[in-house]
Amino acid sequence: MTTGMIGNPVLRVDGRAKVTGAARYAADFNQKNQLYAVIVGATVGLGRVTAIDVASVSRMPGVVAVISHLNAPKLAYGTHKGSIDPAVGERLHVLQDNQVRFFGQPIAVVVAESLDIAERAAAELKVSYSRQQPVIDPKDPKAQQVTPDPRGRVHADRSRGNADAAVASAPVKIDERYDTARENHNPMEPHATIAAWNGNRLTLWSKSQFVVNEQAEIAAIFGIPVQQVQVVCPFIGGAFGTSLRTWPHVTLAAIAARHVGRPVKLVLSRKQMFFTTGHRPRTLQRVALGATSDGKLVSLIQEANGETSRYEQFVEAVTSATNYMVSCPNVSTRYRLSPLDTSTPTYMRGPGEATNMFALECALDELSYKLGIDPIELRRRNEPTVDEETQKPFSSRSLMHCYTEGAERFGWARRDPKPRSMRDGRLLIGYGVASATYPVFYAPANALARLLPSGIVEVEAAASDMGPGTYTSMTQVAAETLGLPMDQVRFRLGYSVYPATPPHGGSMTMASVGSAVRAACIELRRLAEGAAVAAPQSPVFKASVEQLEWKQDRVYRRENAGSGISYREIGNRAGKPIEAQGSSDHDPELPKRYSMHAFGAAFIEVAVDPDVGTIRVRRTVGVYGAGRIINPFLARSQCIGGIVGGIGMALMESTALDPRDGRIVNAHMADYVVPVNLDISNIDVSFVEENDPHVNPLGVKGLGEIAIVGIAPAIANAVYHATGKRIRTLPIRIENMLSH
């Protein structure tokens, strides 16, 4: 570790490609002789396809193929469960039968010479159905509630002490219900796949946060060896979880390309992105708190119901954080699922924790008013010293430090605790806080480092960069590990031929891939040393490893520092690339010894117009204890992005389904409202110094998810402080501000 690259606020290494339009996203890889495919979605919410009038559309000039369950190949659909797939249930099989499981489900794909012709033909295709009434609302009396299958990686029930009895006898209590909206990720880049077959080999230029999984899944679906599928995705135009799984359109593109024997480009329309690419599930929650009159929690109950599809059990950690956030002797959490006639939900930024903490942190805020105790002080009085669920120590926990730092930066002391007491002219001003947390995840990853004769080092991993700056941070890790300047290192990602990595999600890319890159570079340095001491003309010829010493990019004989040899010279003398493999070196015992999470505190100032009800977030202070920060410049951007996402979650975003047939009514960028530039002002992000030697060799905890967690409750709490209106439903909109 010699160049001090880690921790440097360096600019994005791929910035130039992105500001010149040179960065190529999936739909930008136009292929020679390419055709265009457009998906036809079901226009009923549940039922069967009874007829498709293929003939009239097939006759349209320029139409090459109409593929439906009537003529689609029966695919192998071999067993495949990626780490991001629900453990229980089976993924949607496309064009294999006539069943319609949800509105918008792909039932046919039209392939044509141009996009305009394909779109016209898809609109023209007449489909007949037998229809049934779908159930799409978890509050519908017909909706079932099921206990998640234990294979699903998330606990259904956990408890310690006797929470029900303790709440009943507590001097002060809160017992409230919360309702968070279904959301769609809506990244700017629509999902896209260009598929091209060459004999039995398939290349997919396809938007994916997990290219090796897409490769394996498509191979399983088509029943061909994994090596015959290649997935290419060097750039992702935002994803936030929606491109972790391989959705049906990828299979459809591959079916179409094989059917017509030409490359096929398939891009989802913005509307189609709402149907089959996952969504944050709506949750219905109950939180009950019992406390002593001096603010010590004696009981905590959190119950959550999440929506899922009929064919898969999507589970997320909607009650997990409840078990370790506060010190409390009696805790009970319960998690249930409502299988509905919709597509399967998926992970969306801060999955589980974002909705879990909305309910919990709003309830704590409610309790603080009931007790007359400052909300930060309330959390301080209930700050645990160990994870009381598992009795394990925290590897590090800086929550209170974040609050102290944040309160100072925000000016929390200026807050008059009385609701509706602070004004700016006619506007009602409110301050709110909430905690943020997210677990430290890790999964095995691999990387390859290659010293070229030119002295350039190439590092490769099948990782992804949806925006946080993987290209840059991995280049920093490699440069620092090798002692090279960053411009001597080329980091490449997004190809399934590269060494396998875990999904680009769960805030684990830095911990997992970063550790692998580091390991590969350590190994490359070892191989470079070997080459250096083996070359007769080398200044370190025949030196032993113990005699060697590196300074930046040169290795010296320790007692004869004058004449070393550089990577460039070593590479040059080798005359061919020197390659080193590396895998992340993670102690599997660590999670058994420590409770490992990032923590943060979010401070929000809102201004509410009491007459017309508009809510504006005027200031945000986010302070995070997230371990080591590899690149503070990009880390700040990432947190700002999470905060902006949290503002959308709190005040705007909601996917609306028509209960009559399950259609999504606002599947349009003008109707599914997300923040624009004018909505965002004054975001102050900072990190508390946190040296956590336990989490992983790099000491990083990850940032992508935690930045959104805590924003929505802090806003809801600020809205309450401003107006005296406690809104327990997300999003909080003007209409919620009007009634008295």
Partner: protein, 325 residues
């Protein structure tokens, strides 16, 4: 999108002649192209009218004259518009994104079609799109629907912002058809849905909007547009209000109020206006008058909030125009 032919018109007469034989005018295209892509609009023959001499903005006597092909952005930036009718500039800037304002013409803005999600869904009933197929919004998700001027056939709102301002300013429009030219109040351009919601305008497809004419006077100086929405920009109004007024000896002399986001067309509120004439502009008189806006409102399952929001928006707009806010 269905195939069509496209021709460029070189004269007004030629454009009108083609329209009379079934052609459809296109200027900025921001509404038409979007709806053609969804196959809600299906013209077979398009007439590109952008070469026609209908662009200028000028003052003629006591009228501000805005050419039908003037772009929203040009009008908003025009010195005469800003001097005489800042309300028009304000409503335009609130009305769309800068990129759309550079494309969209004033004539096209007035003729933009209703905003209802079901209108765009070929697989959902919609009387406006397909007569007598039913109204999906009436018993569907209707948070954005209108509360004024609705019928059992249609509850869609008119989306234009500047049309609300023009109705408040009592603007007129000059329209030329194959045989004659006529001038009438902008307010009369819009039809109520009744049982024929597919008929939105009182002009024929062969009639070309030439210009929009706005009387110049002191009212233009005390005029404001307020647009209330969840997102700070680039969103259709939940409720909007355009207000223009004059005062004499501390009493209101003229008041014009029109509202958007709540009506099936830009909605003039003459009862509110009448209640204010001769009154002092204070919170009490404003609030009383604003309540009159609720006469005849017909809220649906999800848009009751508009009944709350409408008078509040009018109150605030009046305060802004009157310098109270």
């Amino acid at each position: 999108m269905l195939p069509f032919s496209l021709e460029r018109a070189n004269s007004i007469e030629a454009a009108i002649a083609v329209a009379a034989s079934g052609g459809r005018f296109i200027a900025g295209g921001t509404t038409l192209v979007d709806l053609m892509r969804d196959e809600v609009e299906r013209p077979a023959r398009l007439i590109d009218i952008n070469s026609l001499p209908l662009e200028g903005i000028r003052v003629e006597g006591q009228e501000l004259v805005i050419g039908a092909l003037a772009r929203m952005s040009e009008v908003a930036a025009n010195a005469d518009v800003r001097r005489h009718h800042p309300l028009i500039a304000e409503s335009l800037i609130e009305g769309a994104s800068p990129q759309i304002r550079n494309l969209a013409s004033m004539g096209g803005n007035l003729l933009q079609r209703a905003r209802c999600p079901y209108f765009r869904m070929l697989d959902a009933p919609c009387n406006k799109r397909t007569p007598n197929s039913g109204c999906s919004a009436l018993h569907g998700l209707n948070a954005g629907s209108a509360i004024l001027g609705t019928s059992d056939y249609c509850v869609a709102t008119h989306p234009s912002d500047v049309a609300v301002a023009l109705v408040a300013l009592e603007a007129t429009m000059r329209v030329r058809g194959p045989k004659s030219e006529r001038t009438f109040p902008v307010e009369q351009l819009f039809r109520l849905p009744n049982d024929t919601p597919h008929l939105e305008h009182t002009i024929l497809p062969s009639e070309l909007i030439m210009d929009i004419r706005v009387p110049i006077g002191p009212r233009g100086q005390n005029a404001r547009y307020l647009k209330v929405r969840d997102r700070a920009s680039y969103e259709f109004a939940l409720v909007s209000a355009a207000v223009a007024l004059t005062q004499e000896n501390g009493l209101l002399k003229h008041v014009r109020i029109a509202v958007g986001g709540v009506g099936t067309k830009p909605w003039r509120l003459q009862s509110c206006e009448a209640a204010l004439i001769g009154k002092k502009l204070d919170r009490e008189s404003i609030e009383q008058a604003a309540q009159l806006s609720l006469r005849g409102t017909r809220p649906l399952e999800h848009n009751h909030y508009k009944v709350d929001l409408l008078p509040r928006t009018i109150v605030r707009a009046l305060e802004m125009a009157g310098g109270l806010s």
